[in-house]
Symmetry: C3
Subunit: 364 residues, 3 copies
C-alpha cells in the first residue's frame, strides 16, 4: 500500500485518480449531463490504465520470462478490452469496431510516429532491431487481410449474406488467435534471440510485490469496467454536443484514451534512446489488438452480446488500417530512424483525423 | 523403357498411374457419376504431371543451358496449360480464369509457405538468393497490375464496353509475353550470375536419355489432355454434390491438382536445405502462369475457343493475387527464412480458402 | 545575350524556339485550326521548358546552397505549374487534375524507367543513393494517401457532400505543403549528408550570370504562360480530331510535354553513369508536383479560378498513382539497377497508356 502511494506521489499522471470517485458521484447526481460524464470518465480511465499497465508488468516480472511474456501479451491491452466489452454488452457494435480499428491506426501511426519524432529531436539517428518491427508489420498485414477479404469477395450488388459473414468471422477469429499464439511461440521461445532488445522491459522501475500487483490488477480492472460503462453510455451524446462525428470519437478519442498509458512508456523510452522498446510497445500493441483483442471480442459476443458480432468493418476503416500497416512497414523497414520518419507517420495520422472530423455523420 | 519403369518403382507418386486407365474405363461405363469421374481424374492427373515435369527437365538437361532454360520456362507449367486448354475448348472461361488466379495464389502462398514451414521445422534459419525472389515478385506485381487496371478505370456505373475490354486484353497479353521474354533474356543471358543458386536444377536425379524424354513428353501430354477433358466435364457437378462452391473448386482444388508435381519437388528441396530451389520453383511457376500461360490462353482463345477470352478477372480474384504477391514479397524480402514465415503465408492461404469455401454461390 | 545564343546553338532542343512566334502567328491567322495550334504549342513549350529549367538552375547556383535548394525545389516544375494555372483560369479542372496525376505517373514510371534502361544498356550494374529514393517514395505515398482517403471514406451511395470535399481538400493542401517544407528542412539542412550524391547539380554546364538568368526566368515564364493558353484552348478539340481520349491527352501527352526538359537531363545523367542525379530528378520532380504544385493549385483556385478546386481525383487516376509509387519503391529499394528494372517500370507505364488510349470517352 505504501509502495502504491509512493508510485502515485511520483507519477503526476496518477493524480488524475481523483476523478474516479468524481465520475461515480457525477453519474448519481447528474445522469443527464452526458458531456460532463464523458469528460470525467476520460480523465478517470487514463490513470487507471497506467496503474493496470504497471500491475501487469509487475506480475509478469515476478512470474519469469515465459509466463511473464504470455501475461504481458494477453493483458497488455486490458484497458482496450474492458472498454470494448462494456460497449459489446451495450450492443454498440459500431463503437467496438471503430475503437478496434482506431486503436490499430493510433498505435502504428500516432504512437510510433510521435516516438520517432520525440526521439529524433534529441538524437540525430536512432537504431532499432528491425526483425521485431518486420514481424509485427507482417502480423498486422495478415490481420488486415482477414478484415479486408470478406468485403472484397462479396458482391456489392448482392445483399451480403449475414450467415456467410458470421460463419466466416468465426473462422477468421480462430485463425487469428492461432496465428497470434504461434507468433508468441516463435518470438518468446524458438527464435527469441532474433528479437533481443525488442523485448527488454522497463528497467529502472522496481516491480511491485506480487500480492500488491495482483490485488491492484483485480481492483483496477473492476474500476475500469465501471468507468467504461459510464464512458460508453455518454460518448455518443457527448460527441454530438461537442460537434464531433461518431467516426471521429470511436477512431480517435477512444483510441487515444485507451492507449494513453502505453504512450507515456513509449515516448519516455524514445527520449532515452531506447527505440527498440518504443517500437515494440507501439507495433506490438497494434498487432495484439488486431490478432488477439478483436477475435476474442468476436468469440465473447456469442456469450455476452445481444447478438454475434462479425468482423466486417466499414470499408474506410479497412483502408486506413491497410495504409497504416504499409506506412509503418515502410518507415521501420531500414532499422534506422530520424525525426522526419516520425513526421511522415504523424502526417498520415493527421490526414485520417481531419477526414474523420469533417466527415458528414450519415456517410460513415 | 527400363528407366521409366525404374522411375515408377522408386517414386510412390507414380503408382497412381494405375488410375489413368481406370478413369477412361469409368467414363465409358458410368458417364453420369460425375463425382467418381472427378475423383478418378484428379488421381490420374497427379502422377502424369510428375512424369511430364521429369521429362521436361530431362530434355532441358540434354539441350544445354540456353535452350534448356527456355524449355523449362515454357513447358514448366504444361499441365496447367493443358487443363486450361481443355476448359477453354469447352467454353468454361470462368473455370479457366479461376484456375489461373488460383494457380498464382496457390504457388505463392501454399507452395512457398509450406516449403518455408517444412524447411524451417528441420533447419533453424535458412538462406536463399533474394535477387531471384525479388524479380519474380516484381513480375507478379506487373501481371497483377495488368489484371487490375481494366476494372479500376472502367466506371462501375457504365456498362463495361466489351469491345474495350477485349482489345485491351489482347494488348495486355502481348505486353505480358514480351516482358516474360525479356525477363528470361535477363535472368538466363545478360545477368545470369546474379541468379546463381536460384537455377540449379535437381541434381541427384539422373536425366533420362533424350529419346525416352521426348517420347514421354509427347505421350503424357496426350494423356493429360484426355484426362483433363474428363476432369473439366465432371468438376462443376462433382463440386455441387460434394458441397463445394465453384469458386473454391477452381481456385483451390484445380490449382492444387495442377501443381502437385512441382510441390513434391519444392518440398523435398526445402527439406534438403536447398531453399533457393524451392523459392525458384514456387515463385517462378507463379510468374510463368501470370506472364506466359494466361496471355497465351487469351491468344489461343481466338483460335480454339468459342469466343475470345478477355483478361477481366473477378475483382475478388484480383485482390487475392495482389495480396499474395505482397505477402510473398514481404516474406522473401530479407533472403532468410524461419518456420514462422511459412506459417504467415499458409495463414493467408487459409483465409482465402475459408472465404471461398463459405462464399454463397451467387456472390462469386 | 551571347551566352544565351551560344546555349541555343549547342542545344538542338532549343532550335524548336522558332515555333514560339509561329504559334502566336497561327493563333491570329487560323484560330479555328485546333489540331495545328495544339501541335505548334507543344513544339513551342518543349524548348521554353528547357530554357526555364536552365535559368532556374543558374539562379540557384548563384544564390548558395540553402536558397538555391529552395529555389530549385519551388521552381523546378514551373512549366507544369504555368500550364496548370492556364487550365485553372479556363476552369478546366479535369485537365488540371489529369495533368497533375499524369505528371506524377510519367515521372515515376517513364522518366525513371527510361533512365534505368538507357543507363543499363551502357553499364552492367549501376548504383545510387537509396536514401533519397526512399524518402521521395515515402513522400509520394503520403500524397497518394491524401488523394485516396476522401474517396475511400465517403460512401458511394450517399451524394458526396461538396462542402465536405472542399474543406477537406483545403486542409489536405495545407498538410501537404507543410510536409513538403519539412522534407526540405530535413534533406537540405538537418540531415543533408544522408542525401550526398542525390543532390549534386549538373556539373559541366557553366551557370549563366545572375542577371541573364533572372531576365530569362521572367521572360520565358511569360512566354510559357501565353503559349499554355493556346495549348489549353486547343487540346481538347485537337484530341478529338486526333482520335485520342481526353484521359489519354491529360495523362500522357500533357505530362510528357511538361516534363520534356527534365527528361533530357535525367537521361543524359543516366548515360554518364550518374544515376543518383537521374533518380533525384525523376522522383524529386514527382514528389514536388504531388506535395507542392497540386496543393498550391488548390489554394490558387480560390483566388484565380472560377470556383474552388478540390483534391478529389478520378479513382482510376488514384489507383495509377498508387501503383506507380509502389512500383518505383520496389525498383529503387535495393539501390542498384540493371536494364530490366527499367523495362518493368516502362511496362507498367505502357499498360497505363494503352488502357487510357483505348478507354471509351464516357467512362473516364
Amino acid at each position: 500500500m505504501k509502495l502504491l502511494l509512493k508510485e502515485i506521489r511520483h507519477n503526476p499522471l496518477l493524480w488524475l485518480l481523483v476523478f474516479v470517485p468524481v465520475v461515480f458521484a457525477a453519474e448519481q447526481l447528474k445522469p443527464e449531463s452526458h458531456t460532463l460524464l464523458f469528460v470525467l470518465s476520460v480523465l478517470a480511465i487514463v490513470p487507471l490504465a497506467a496503474l493496470l499497465s504497471h500491475a501487469t508488468e509487475s506480475v509478469a516480472a515476478k512470474t519469469g520470462d515465459a509466463v511473464g511474456g504470455l501475461l504481458n501479451a494477453t493483458l497488455g491491452n486490458l484497458t482496450e478490452l474492458v472498454i470494448a466489452i462494456a460497449a459489446l454488452r451495450a450492443g454498440q457494435y459500431m463503437l467496438v469496431k471503430a475503437s478496434i480499428a482506431g486503436a490499430i491506426v493510433t498505435n502504428t501511426l500516432f504512437m510510433l510516429g510521435a516516438s520517432f519524432l520525440l526521439g529524433g529531436l534529441k538524437f540525430r539517428l536512432q537504431e532499432f532491431n528491425r526483425v521485431g518491427a518486420r514481424m509485427q508489420a507482417a502480423l498486422l498485414f495478415l490481420a488486415t487481410v482477414a478484415l479486408l477479404i470478406p468485403s472484397a469477395v462479396s458482391n456489392a450488388d448482392a445483399a451480403a449474406s449475414a450467415a456467410f459473414t458470421r460463419s466466416l468471422s468465426l473462422g477468421l477469429a480462430v485463425l487469428l488467435i492461432l496465428t497470434y499464439g504461434l507468433s508468441m511461440l516463435f518470438s518468446l521461445k524458438t527464435h527469441r534471440e532474433l528479437f533481443a532488445g525488442a523485448e527488454g522491459g522497463e528497467e529502472g522501475e522496481t516491480p511491485w510485490p506480487i500480492v500488491l500487483a495482483l490485488a491492484t490488477l483485480a481492483a483496477v480492472t473492476v474500476l475500469v469496467a465501471l468507468v467504461s460503462e459510464v464512458f460508453v453510455e455518454s460518448v455518443q451524446k457527448a460527441a454530438e454536443s461537442l460537434g464531433m462525428t461518431p467516426a471521429f470519437v470511436g477512431f480517435i478519442v477512444v483510441a487515444l484514451v485507451g492507449a494513453a498509458a502505453e504512450m507515456a512508456s513509449a515516448f519516455s523510452a524514445a527520449r532515452k534512446n531506447r527505440l527498440d522498446l518504443s517500437v515494440g510497445i507501439a507495433m506490438g500493441s497494434a498487432s495484439q489488438i488486431a490478432l488477439f483483442v478483436a477475435p476474442v471480442l468476436v468469440l465473447l459476443s456469442y456469450v455476452i452480446g445481444p447478438a454475434p458480432m462479425d468482423l466486417q468493418f466499414w470499408p474506410g476503416a479497412v483502408v486506413m488500417m491497410l495504409i497504416a500497416t504499409i506506412a509503418a512497414s515502410m518507415v521501420t523497414n531500414s532499422g534506422r530512424s530520424a525525426w522526419f520518419g516520425g513526421v511522415l507517420l504523424l502526417m498520415v495520422y493527421a490526414i485520417f483525423a481531419m477526414t474523420l472530423y469533417l466527415l458528414p455523420p450519415q456517410a460513415s
